[in-house]
Symmetry: C2
Subunit: 231 residues, 2 copies
C-alpha cells in the first residue's frame, strides 16, 4: 500500500500563526524578531515545521504553545500558501493559522526567549516572505467572522463590561460605533448576563460586569437563530 506514492515528490510543510490580542485599546499582533536564520534580524510570524507524528492542527497548537505557553485557545486554519519561491531559501508549503488570545494570559518569559513583541494591526513592521499577506487575510477573516460569531470574547476575560466589548469591536473594525445602538444590539441576543459587580478602574461611575453565557449561546444556535452583529 505504501508504495503507490513513491514516484511523487515530498515537501517541507510548516505552520505560521497570526496571533491576535486585545490590550483594551487596540488589536495587536504578536510578531517575532528572528534571532535565527534564515532572514535573521527580520520580523516574521511565529512558525514551525510539521512533524510526522502530528496533524496540522496539532502542529499549530504546539507552535502556539511554544511561544505563549497557552493551550485551549481559539485557533483556526486560514489557508495554505504554496508559491514556489515564497521562502527564498528552500521550498516550503506553509499552512497559516490565526489565534485569538487573552493578552494577559501568556508567559512573558517565553515571549522574551523568542524575541516576540506585540504590535498594533495599524502599525507593525514589514514581515518576511508572504507573511504580510497572511496577516492581511487573517484580519479580513477576523472581521468577517466577528460579525456572525461571538469570537470577540476569545480575546477578553470572562467578566467584561459593555464599553470594553465595544472598544474591542472598534479595534477590530477600526471605526467608532454608537454606544446606544451597540448596547442594544449586543444585549438583544440574551447571551450576556449582568452581574451585580462593577468595573471601577476606567470610570468613577463604574460599568457593570457581564459574563458571556456559553450555554445560552449554544441554545441560540440550536434554535436556528444566528448571532449577527451588524457592524
Amino acid at each position: 500500500m505504501s508504495s503507490y506514492y513513491k514516484e511523487h515528490e515530498k515537501f517541507y510543510v510548516a505552520v505560521d500563526i497570526i496571533i491576535f490580542g486585545f490590550d483594551g485599546e487596540r488589536l495587536n499582533l504578536l510578531l517575532i524578531k528572528r534571532n535565527f536564520p534564515p532572514s535573521k534580524g527580520k520580523w516574521s510570524l511565529m512558525g514551525g515545521f510539521l512533524k510526522n507524528y502530528e496533524s496540522l492542527d496539532q502542529a499549530a497548537e504546539r507552535v502556539l504553545y511554544t511561544l505563549t505557553g497557552l493551550n485551549n485557545v481559539f485557533l483556526e486554519q486560514l489557508q495554505a500558501y504554496g508559491n514556489i519561491y515564497r521562502d527564498p531559501g528552500e521550498r516550503v508549503i506553509s499552512i497559516a493559522y490565526y489565534a485569538l488570545i487573552k493578552i494577559d494570559d501568556y508567559d512573558e518569559n517565553l515571549l522574551e526567549k523568542h524575541n516576540a513583541h506585540w504590535y498594533p494591526i495599524t502599525d507593525f513592521p514589514s514581515l518576511i516572505f508572504d507573511h504580510n499577506n497572511m496577516v492581511k487575510r487573517a484580519i479580513a477573516r477576523l472581521r468577517r467572522k466577528a460579525k456572525t460569531q461571538p469570537i470577540g470574547f476569545e480575546m477578553l476575560p470572562a467578566k467584561i463590561t459593555i464599553p470594553q466589548l465595544q472598544k474591542l469591536y472598534e479595534a477590530i473594525y477600526l471605526k467608532k460605533f454608537d454606544k446606544r445602538n451597540f448596547r442594544k444590539k449586543i444585549l438583544s441576543y440574551n447571551v450576556l448576563e449582568k452581574l451585580d459587580e462593577k468595573e471601577k478602574e476606567t470610570s468613577k461611575k463604574g460599568a457593570y460586569y457581564y459574563y458571556f453565557n456559553e450555554r445560552k449561546y449554544s441554545q441560540l444556535l440550536e434554535n436556528g437563530y444566528s448571532f449577527n452583529v451588524n457592524i
Copy 2:
C-alpha cells in the same frame, strides 16, 4: 541557505478539487470512480500530487485541466487537510480547492477516460478519506460566497434569463424564492443588461436574455457598493 531545514521531515502534498456544475435544475458535483489504487473502485474527488515546479494554485489548475480540459475557470482554495491517517496508505497533506464550471463546456472524452460522473449535491455516493468533509465545507463556502459575490455566473453561459438564475440560486440554497422579489433584487444592482432576444426552449412565452456586465460590476465595487443577494 538550503541547509537550514535539513533536520525537518518532508511530506507528500496533494490537491483535491470539488467541482461544481449546474445543469439547469440541480447543483452537481463531478466525482471519480477510481479505476486505480489506492481505494480502487471507490468514489473520490479528483486529485493529484503537487510537483516541485508548480505552486499549489497551479497544481489545482493542472488537475482540473486534466479532468475537464478547462482553463481559466473559477478556482479557489478551500483549506488544507492534514490529519495523520486521513489517507490510510501513507501520510499526505491535501489542499482542497473548489471550482465552478459551465457544465456543458467540459471535454466528455476526458470525463470518460477518468471515469468521472456528475452527481447532485443532494444525493451522491460516499467518498473516500476525508473527501465527504471537503464537499460539505465547499458547499458551505459556496453558499456564503454566493451571497456577496456574483459567482453564480461562473456556472452559467454568458447569456442567461432571470428564471435560470433563480433556479441556480434555488439549487445552491435548496429552497424556493419568490420570483418577484428575486428579480427585483438582482436587477437592482444594474449589472445585468437586457437583450432583445428571448430564450424559448423552456416556455412558450419565452424569457428575455440578459448578460452579466463585468465592467458595471467592477464599477459597483469600486464605488464602495457591495453586491449582496439576501437569501
